[in-house]
């Protein structure tokens, strides 16, 4: 573009450099995706050692999934996600605004940051196994509670025996694993706000509540939206923690059985038709979420000023 008369053309190198990425994507993601969609329209499963199908059945798999407990599992996934997400976003916002608040002078900031981010790096399956051991009937948590006299030795708390208990444990684990990450991201966003705005608000007599709700929150809205959407996508994929904690059963009574655990069971039992249809449902939902994320990350008009300018121009033209 810049030097048209120069005859050396480098564009082929662009293609060569991006080829490995796209080739890998094509083989290991695109072909599997097409295959998944294709078999979602077939009856195709293993029964004992015999394979049934593939027989074309149209939308039969999709229908029987809707009649199965899929929507209930979707509800479970949502509940498990929200239990972890609400405290996560509240605490993260609070911590992030504290960390950047010069008037608070948090001592040992670096130490706190290192500690709260640490759980994010932990193997979710090992973390779940650890929680399973800690919160079991004879586990350390019960023995601590007994030694404090909160409960007696004959009536230990069966944390994983109730729906609320199991769900709370999953929520606590997700909260612990993600609040540090969110805090650091939000902190970076708040630090990106021009200090002039904060100074001006201070001079105008703004208190810390007003500053938080009227300045900080509106200005970090794009990154908050990004956090929300990526967290929903992460929640949709929730698997390791409930799978290991409940040994794949989502017990009690499948109240913590998630969509991906459902998919995993279909894959393990080699029911390819059903697994395909379930994957397509998940694909559609995550496709919508991907689109929203794309819109947020590639937003060239985050404060709406360009849209407003366009609107005004239109109005002016009409006036003429």
């Amino acid at each position: 573009m810049k030097q048209k008369n120069k005859k050396v053309n480098y564009s082929k190198w662009g293609y060569i450099f991006i080829l490995p990425f796209f080739l890998t994507f094509f083989i290991f993601s695109f072909i599997p995706l097409v295959d998944t969609i294709r078999y979602s329209f077939f009856q195709y499963f293993r029964s004992g050692l015999k394979w049934i199908g593939p027989n074309f059945v149209g939308l039969e798999n999709y229908k029987s999934l809707l009649q199965s407990d899929m929507l209930r599992y979707a509800g479970n996934t949502f509940i498990l996600w929200i239990i972890g997400f609400v405290p996560q976003i509240v605490i993260s916002l609070l911590l992030a605004s504290w960390f950047v608040d010069a008037r608070l002078k948090i001592k040992g900031q670096q130490f706190f940051k290192v500690v709260i981010y640490m759980p994010n790096l932990i193997m979710a399956s090992a973390f779940a196994m650890l929680f399973f051991a800690l919160f079991s009937l004879k586990g350390p948590i019960n023995s601590i509670l007994i030694s404090w006299g909160v409960i007696t030795e004959t009536t230990p708390i069966d944390f994983m025996g109730t729906a609320l208990g199991t769900r709370s444990l999953v929520g606590v684990m997700n909260f612990l694993m993600w609040f540090g990450n969110t805090t650091i991201m939000l902190m970076a966003a708040i630090m990106g706000i021009s200090p002039d705005i904060f100074e001006a608000s201070e001079i105008d007599g703004c208190n810390s509540f007003q500053r938080f709700f009227r300045i900080t929150l509106p200005l970090i809205r794009p990154i908050l939206a990004y956090t929300l959407i990526t967290s929903i996508i992460g929640g949709l994929q929730m698997f390791d923690v409930p799978q290991i904690l409940t040994n794949g059963a989502g017990s009690p009574n499948r109240t913590s059985y998630t969509l991906i655990m459902f998919l995993n069971d279909h894959l393990k039992s080699k029911n390819y038709g059903m697994a395909g249809a379930l994957s397509v449902y998940l694909f559609v939902v995550s496709g919508i979420l991907c689109y929203i994320t794309y819109k947020i990350t590639n937003d060239d008009d985050p404060d709406g000023s360009k849209a407003a300018a366009r609107k005004r121009k239109k109005m002016e033209r009409r006036m003429k």
Binding site: I18, T24, A126
Partner: protein, 281 residues
């Protein structure tokens, strides 16, 4: 303006909450470490604040355990995570450079495409993926866990943002005038500039791959080929609790602690990397 007393209250409140949260984050790992140093019988009796003297025995029991081959698990995990991190960072940097430094017809399409699949979950293609690798005779091997990491949209995006902020195209131009070929320019001029970004992403990819459970659990069947998370899941399935809890805690510690130790050394860079990932380029 706010009164001094109110600010003082806020300072105390902030510190108390931070200490509680930090305690929560550390407490579970403390119990893990303590119990990994105690024998089974003692753990069953109850909890103790102080570590026991059984660390070495538990460790020896763990590595000699034939049913749950944690040693080969750790080796497999290191191979998978190490290769993934190397392939992922190199090819993401290559792709980012290809889209950043060259003008070609499909440039915009390619970029938009990668951005569109940025957060696509891998689970939705898992079924086709399993069938594909079975057809390619790669089931129950480590390859399907390594090779797909060449195409990592999120890492690509990080590299691309980094290039935008730190590689002037005039440098590439100058290298060309000096007679450097395109690949050499990338390997000897661009890569050194991208070192900080590659280091951060290598760490994240390594950790992500080390911790990955869903796909390895579906792909790997032979015990000697399993990675650490799959072996940990086996423990849960076998209700291992009632056999040797000291050894079980030791295995969990083996899965978690190496990453934590590395993290403590590199925490400064890792946290800076997380913050960078949050700020849009």
């Amino acid at each position: 303006m706010e009164s001094k007393g109110y600010n003082r209250f806020r300072v105390i409140f902030a510190h108390v909450l931070l200490i509680i949260l930090s305690f929560l984050c550390l407490f579970f790992f403390y119990i893990l470490i303590v119990n990994a140093t105690r024998p089974h019988a003692e753990i069953q009796k109850g909890f103790s604040i102080l570590p026991g003297g059984y660390l070495v025995t538990n460790f020896k029991n763990m590595i000699s355990d034939g049913t749950y081959p944690i040693v080969s698990g750790v080796i497999n995990s290191i191979i998978v995570a190490g290769c993934s991190a190397a392939l992922c960072t190199y090819f993401s940097a290559l792709t980012a450079y290809g889209l950043y430094a060259y003008d070609f017809k499909l440039k915009k399409v390619a970029f938009t495409f990668i951005m569109a699949i940025l957060v696509m979950p891998t689970q939705v293609t898992a079924m086709g993926f399993l069938r594909l690798i079975t057809k390619m005779n790669m089931d129950d091997t480590l390859f399907p866990l390594i090779i797909p990491s060449i195409a990592s949209p999120a890492v690509f995006y990080f590299m691309y943002s980094y290039l935008q902020s730190s590689l002037p195209l005039s440098l590439v131009e100058a290298a060309r005038i000096d007679g450097s070929r395109e690949f050499r320019t990338f390997n000897q001029i661009v890569l050194p500039i991208m070192k900080p970004a590659m280091a951060v992403q290598a760490i994240f990819t390594f950790v992500g791959s080390w911790n990955n459970y869903f796909v390895p659990a579906l792909v790997l069947e032979t015990k000697s080929k399993m990675t650490v998370p799959v072996i940990i899941a086996l423990l849960r399935g076998a209700d291992y609790m009632n056999r040797d809890m000291g050894k079980m805690y030791m295995m969990i510690a083996t899965a978690i602690l190496p990453i934590i130790v590395v993290y403590l050394f590199l925490s400064k860079y890792i946290i800076a990397g997380v913050a960078l990932g949050g700020v849009k380029g």
